[in-house]
Homo-oligomer: 219 residues x 2
DNA sequence: TATTGATTAAGTAGTACTACTTAATTTTTA
DNA sequence: TAAAAATTAAGTAGTACTACTTAATCAATA
């Protein structure tokens, strides 16, 4: 990719199901004339279609979207060998989504907290072939790469029992309730909760729920 | 509606995005020959379409579905004056969804924990013109109708600040973190959390998040 | 059958959340 | 500008969750 210029700008496609978010990104990117948003998509299916049609240089996509989520859309884009860089822009700063995104072939994984300057820099870096992560995500990457030599890709395996407990936790049930329902000790439930959080690299029920709800939406 | 019989069974349509759930309901209803499932839908849009086409006697629908959620689908069904009873079958036992469902014109609101006998009875009751709620939901209804004479319909209003805090809570942020981010006291954040839970009639962060995520999916 | 993985459970300790009240200050609106 | 609503904040107390460890039992499988 040659250096983008005002007369030969980067072709960008945005994907997010919320008009507000798209408007926000449009706004952020509007300050740099080297970037041109050529189309937008409000779900993963639209995204795959518009990427096929427009052949953009770069895609900036949300993860949680109706019809087809961002990660599955990314997989399709890679399958179809549509040559473009893809940055996931998301509210989920956990290693579960990060890993899925990387595995699917994302070139970047940025938090929605990002500002204009950072986003534009990230795009330009990605175009140069680099991978970008927002600061808040770096620590997850570090943690992972410290444990593994290069690409460990240890898949997160949630057992049947854990899934059962996760579902109840996500419904707002207390450990006490879950214990009674499943005829096990409160301490056992707590163990499962703890193990789940370890596996998913989160530290509270809120993030646990995001995982459980998103997983359902994505599959 | 005349009494359904084996030779003249009730026409039922199911809507749920998960094949597993539909299969489960099919199973539950299969024991009563007076009920016949004539079609299924896996999202709200499909549901509206199939109801328009098939004119069923009764619809049993999930709330959280892609494309169009169950409540919005119900609204459309009512708008289109498609004459049928609608029971929401859901995992969300909170007054937020209950109220939305009732407001949209639901004839029943049942928990997914229901068993075959209860479900069949509920359907037959609804056909007689009654409204049905599963036990776990009754307490919510009671609470509401105690305060209000008949139809209070006090809308739940979440202030800007509360929304801001809800979003952070839903991201898994602690009160400590939120306080620092918004330059307010931890106790203030806790007050907002408490008020939010009161307004939404829930008692922990898990249910709070369901609300916040679902609200986003539904609007 | 020996090993691995799943499930169970408890110890210990700290942190965060939840419940409910009261009330002062802003801000908004009638 | 007075009244209402929103935001702030703290008191008090209890409950639930989170962190990390160790370990027994059971089931599957190599």
């Amino acid at each position: 990719m040659i250096e983008p210029t005002e007369s030969n700008p980067l072709k960008v496609i945005l994907a997010d199901d919320h008009e507000i978010v798209r408007a926000g990104i449009r706004r952020l990117l509007s300050i740099d004339r080297r970037l041109k948003i050529i189309d937008e998509a409000e779900n993963g299916q639209d995204l795959v279609d518009t990427v096929s049609y427009h052949k953009p240089d770069i895609v900036i996509s949300d993860i949680m979207m109706p019809k087809l989520n961002g990660i599955d859309a990314l997989k399709k884009i890679r399958e179809l060998k549509l040559d473009c860089y893809v940055i996931m822009l998301t509210a989920y700063e956990d290693s579960f989504h990060l890993e899925n995104a990387l595995e699917a072939g994302a070139d970047g994984y940025l938090s929605k907290d990002i500002n204009a300057k950072e986003l534009i820099e990230a795009i330009l870096d990605v175009i140069k072939g680099e991978r970008v992560f927002s600061k808040s995500v770096v620590r997850l990457v570090k943690k992972k790469s410290a444990n593994s030599s290069e690409l460990d890709a240890t898949p997160v395996v949630i057992t049947k029992r854990e899934q059962e407990i996760l579902d109840l936790v996500a419904k707002g049930k207390t450990s006490q309730y879950i214990a009674e329902k499943l005829f096990i000790s409160v301490r056992t439930v707590e163990s499962h909760r703890y193990n789940l959080m370890q596996k998913l690299d989160v530290s509270n029920v809120a993030e646990l729920i995001r995982y459980s709800i998103l997983k359902r939406t994505s599959s």
